[in-house]
């Protein structure tokens, strides 16, 4: 136009994300201090399992054995409950300010040893070190700090009313955020004066077991927290033990339902935090690049092993092509591979079983006619890996739009009007979370009112705060974790006139 010598070349308008400047391997080198074997942590001591059985925890990054873990049977779980029951009277009668001291101490010790725990979490669970370092560990400590603050203020949770502890609480936690879920469960239980028997998931027991050393260093009275390890049978023993005053479970909806059945008529309290198939809804007036970033974060964070993952993208038809092409560009610079590398964005799938499930559901998506896209990426030969994946042309009746995949797989659906977006978003068994992207504030409020989900993120996704209650609608469970409301699930409310 101005200078004829420099006009646009008729280039293929494509960005090249090549290897001109390839990052060198940047493995985190801090030691994780994982013991060769672990017993059960009962009554403040390490004890051998009465079953005399053990199992191995392997690292999904390379399938190598990390540690030999005790397999707790019913007798071991019973010993844990006895220890917790023995500790309960003294612990529950401690002044709140004294319980707070322990919680503060635990939080600070966790901060002190954050790097070591982050490395252990990544080795055992497969999540990228940058996530365990920058999210899991700081957030776990934050939950202890937050609840430490509540311990001496329980009389102000519901003014004029008294919160009394429940007793011994049984907790069963999942493998996607092993230490963070432990913190979510333990911190409110301790703050309100309960004692605990907790079972980590069988593929990710290590950080829970390492956490026992923090409890010892903090001088927590023996029996206040007891850690038993094992798989489903151990979990069933925890859930069905007669001493349990309450069960808190985070995991799959199928197991949650069976727990609810088992507990019916027992008088035990129950909170369930189960699966999700969250809708992430993008309107045409949304800031597209930030929405794309939020979509990426929503589905590929922790390899999609997130109960509130934004696994169903609902995008307004008018911008669907634009969003799809921007998503594809963005996915080209995602780095999938060794979770211990500091530059890895998408790490290892937690287990062989989960990898198989993802493969099966992705195959069903292809078979049902959805269009698959995966960026070119070289995956490690050993270990469990799955490339970031998106499906376009997905309809509501596809399995990949209904079942929780719990992997790095995004299903893209379109809508035309806000009403249709609400219908589609709510057309699911689940109701844990949702995302709304629009520049229009009133639309955010309208959507939030209509969406059947426990958490709605506006122009953001996967934001967590210990002060914000987290929990679901429908088959995503009941009860809340975090916030003032989370305390109520660990206490009996008494009104005295």
């Amino acid at each position: 136009m101005h200078s004829p010598k420099r006009t646009a070349r008729p280039v293929a308008r494509e960005l090249l994300f090549g290897n001109l400047w390839e990052y060198d391997a940047a493995p985190e080198s801090s030691p994780a201090f994982i013991d060769a074997s672990y017993g059960l942590f009962i009554g403040g001591k390490w004890v051998a399992p009465k079953t005399r059985k053990t199992f191995y925890s392997i690292s999904p990054r390379n399938e190598e054995k990390l540690s030999e873990i005790a397999l707790a049977g019913a007798a071991d779980v019973d010993a844990a409950y006895q220890a917790a029951a023995k500790a309960f009277p003294a612990w529950s009668k401690l002044p709140g300010s004294e319980r707070a001291k322990y919680l503060f101490r635990i939080a600070r010790l966790l901060q002190d040893r954050a790097r070591e725990f982050a490395v252990a979490e990544t080795l055992d669970g497969g999540k990228p070190i940058k996530e365990s370092r920058d999210f899991d560990l700081p957030m776990a400590a934050a939950h202890f700090f937050y609840h430490a603050g509540w311990a001496d203020k329980l009389n102000y949770v519901t003014p004029g009313r008294v919160l009394e502890p429940l007793g011994v609480v049984g907790q069963v936690i999942p493998w996607n955020f092993p230490l963070l879920m432990l913190a979510w469960k333990l911190a409110p239980a301790l703050a309100t004066g309960n004692t605990v028997v907790i079972k980590p998931a069988e593929t990710t027991s290590i950080t829970a077991l390492k956490f026992a050393s923090i409890l010892q260093d903090a001088g927590l009275p023996p029996g206040v927290i007891n850690i038993v390890t094992g798989a489903g049978d151990t979990g069933a023993a925890v859930v069905n033990h007669p001493l349990a005053a309450k069960i808190a479970f985070t995991g799959s909806t199928a197991v949650g339902k069976s727990i609810q059945r088992a507990l019916a008529g027992t008088g035990k309290r129950l909170t369930l935090e189960l699966g999700g198939k969250a809708a992430n809804i993008v309107f045409e007036d949304a800031p597209i690049d930030q929405a794309v970033e939020g979509i990426i974060n929503g589905i590929f964070f922790n390899q999609g092993h997130v109960c509130c993952a934004g696994s169903r993208l609902l995008v307004q038809e008018s911008i669907a092509n634009q969003v799809l092409s921007k998503l594809k560009i963005r996915m080209k610079s995602l780095r999938t591979g060794d979770p211990l590398d500091k530059n890895t964005d998408v790490g290892a799938i937690n287990s062989r079983a989960q990898l198989d499930r993802i493969h099966e559901l992705v195959a069903s998506g292809v078979a049902e006619g959805a269009e698959l896209y995966q960026p070119v990426c070289e995956l490690p030969h050993k270990g469990f890996y799955f490339p970031p994946t998106l499906f376009s042309k997905v309809s509501q009746s596809h399995r990949i739009a209904r079942d929780e995949i719990f992997g790095p797989v995004l299903s893209i659906l379109t809508f035309r009007t806000p009403e249709e977006a609400i219908e589609k978003a709510n057309n699911t068994h689940y109701g844990l979370s949702a995302g709304v992207w629009t520049d229009k504030g009133s639309l955010i409020l309208k959507m939030s009112n209509e969406l059947k989900a426990g958490v709605v993120w506006a122009n953001s996704y996967n934001k967590f705060d210990p002060s914000s209650p987290f929990g679901g609608y429908k088959e995503s469970g009941f009860g809340r974790e975090g916030g003032k409301q989370g305390l109520l699930d660990y206490a009996k409310l008494k009104a005295t006139f």
Binding site: S3, V11, L20, Y23, A25
Partner: protein, 309 residues
Amino acid sequence: MRNSLGLRSLIEEIGGVDQVGIDERVAKYATRSIKKHAKVFGLKLATTMVDLTTLEGKDTPGKVASLCQKALRPHDDSDIPPTAAVCVYPAMVKHAAKLLKGTSVKIASVATAFPSGQSSLKIRLAEVRAAVSDGADEIDMVINRGAFLAGELARVQDEISAVLEACGEATLKVILETSELETYDNIRAASFLAMRVLRPGDFIKTSTGKTSANATLGNNQVMLEAIRDHFLATGVEIAMKPAGGIRTAKEALHFLVAVKETLGDAWLNQDRYRFGASALLNDLVRQMVKEKTGVYQAPYTFSESTTAY
């Protein structure tokens, strides 16, 4: 003359920017771990992208001469490449030309009543022509922020076109002065206003370095995304120059990570990306020497160092 509705409809057309989202995105660049060969490559690349700058009232031909020598040979080690350009005031262009003509180092000159731009268009254009005729290869202009904020978008764009014409063959860098535009929406809108009249290879640039806030990973990202969207829509490759406030090699690498992950390999060269900086060069050199020798050298080891003890 357009009113502010013009700005709103432009933003509607090109899409807005969410500040929280941008800041979250760029925070991830700073967590990239650049080690070993990747670090050396990045440091070297950044060195070749520096527009070594002096823009002071006390600049003299002597000061500019030593700046030119530094640009040609940043360190005794000949493995360390020359910078992309020196950047000086128009009055200093002819002094720089004596040393740099015929070398790989370009002469960039700020013009258009830098840094405020508060002069008549006629005078601003005359300044551009004078700098070019004195030997400037590149002109760093400032946009009319007053006109932009008053909603006179057409005027802003027409003035850029006029300066472009005055440049002739010289490359143009359009300084948006992001701190005065303030919002990311404005920065994106101003980027598009400029890019739509620029030639391939011309630059958009963050700041003059003369206000309190200069280049940040955030405004850099907004502008990189604008360049990407413009390229994908038109095929025109616009170049980018963050300026001011980037003082350490580590920061420079974070900016390059943003380029790599937003625009890709085609922008990782001095024709498509520059750093407007002065102190940055010696830190890049210092880090490169450290990578080679394993130890950090004292500040006085490096010529033109302003850090001493």
